[in-house]
């Protein structure tokens, strides 16, 4: 058994705030099976090699959005990335880029959570309805306007892919702006006006320079770059219309 077990070297960026001045790479040699994800490799390290290693995880099946990290320089979910793709080479694992490192692979997410709350990521009904009036009806075409953007699992891979967020964290960033668009584009929602003050600002859609890497790394094909950039034309039209039409004429 021991003879046939494959091993892979995993270099993990370590940072223990109470003792390390700055992060450093620590190499672990991990025996693995072909169906092992990077997350399972990290769990092996924590359970059998070094209990001090910290990382976030929960569902192991790409839906909780907890285990986002840089794997060989790419923002990826550790649970849907497999060690066999890197073997026989070693691989490097680090915390998500553009976020401050809390500890080892754990990043500080307060800024993201605060932004997520700020855009009111829930339906603000256009017309309040009583129970006896029945459900809010929606056509398949209306559903398609936002369905894709509703797949976000808040894994923050797109933030690690967004240099504009890294350069200036005042920028609201891809995931949250995509969610803003998701609710604005919902035919049942009437909260667009409340959300668009941020949308029209430099911290909103205009902070994006269309690098588009966010859409490339999204594990749920949300396409934040499209959600953001398709708003620029409307925001620009509204910007100019303010001068010729009464407020509220443009959307």
């Amino acid at each position: 058994m021991a003879d046939t077990t494959k091993t892979i070297e995993i270099e993990v960026l370590r940072y223990r705030p109470e003792q390390d001045k700055e992060p450093f790479f620590q190499t672990y040699t991990v025996p693995f099976e072909d169906d092992w994800s990077v997350l399972q490799g990290l769990q092996y390290i924590k359970d059998d090699l070094d209990g001090t290693l910290s990382f976030r995880w929960s569902c192991r099946m790409a839906i909780c959005g907890s285990c986002g990290m840089m794997i060989d320089g790419k923002p990826r979910l550790a649970c849907r990335t497999f060690l066999r793709h890197y073997h026989p080479n070693k691989l490097r694992v680090g915390p998500l880029e553009h976020f401050p490192i809390e500890r080892d692979l754990v990043v500080v997410v307060e800024d993201f959570i605060r932004k997520l709350e700020s855009i009111k990521p829930y339906i603000i009904p256009k017309e309040p309805r009583k129970l006896e009036q029945g459900e809010y009806l929606q056509t398949p075409a209306q559903l398609e306007q936002f369905r894709q953007f509703s797949g976000c699992i808040n894994c923050m891979l797109c933030y690690a892919a967004c240099p504009q967020y890294g350069l200036d964290s005042k920028f609201t960033g891809p995931g949250v702006l995509a969610l803003m668009h998701r609710y604005n584009a919902d035919s049942r929602d009437g909260g667009r006006g409340e959300r668009m003050a941020l949308g029209h600002s430099e911290e909103g859609f205009w902070g994006c320079t269309a690098v588009t890497y966010c859409s490339e790394v999204c594990p749920k094909d949300v396409d934040p770059a499209n959600a953001i950039n398709q708003n620029k034309m409307g925001s620009a039209i509204d910007y100019f219309l303010r001068f010729v039409a009464p407020r509220g004429a443009g959307k």
Binding site: L167, H200, S201, E202, E203, G204, W206
Partner: protein
Amino acid sequence: MTRSNAPLVWSLFGAGGVLAALVGPALVFVTGIAVPAGILMSHDLMSYQRMFGFAQSWAGKIIILAVIVLFLWHAALRIFHMLHDFGIHPGVASKLICFGLPFLCTVAAFYWVLPI
């Protein structure tokens, strides 16, 4: 939240980007390669008389202004972003260079083409 003034330059950026894609390569080939080198086209195409006549017509003026001005503003926004990307963040200096210079060039283009 302060409303961004980005749409001002962004709309020119977009128009310039479309124009640069639709006619840019053909224009560069004609004015910079084919006519000067005499490949496929005669030197006459850009003779003083022809160009002067072209710039005298309103259609000619509009085409000349559209190409020069929109190309400049298209480039201006990207250079502004690029400075930011390289760590020179938006400020008075970068705005003066990226938007002040194209503004002066725009004024100059109108000033030079209108009297022709």
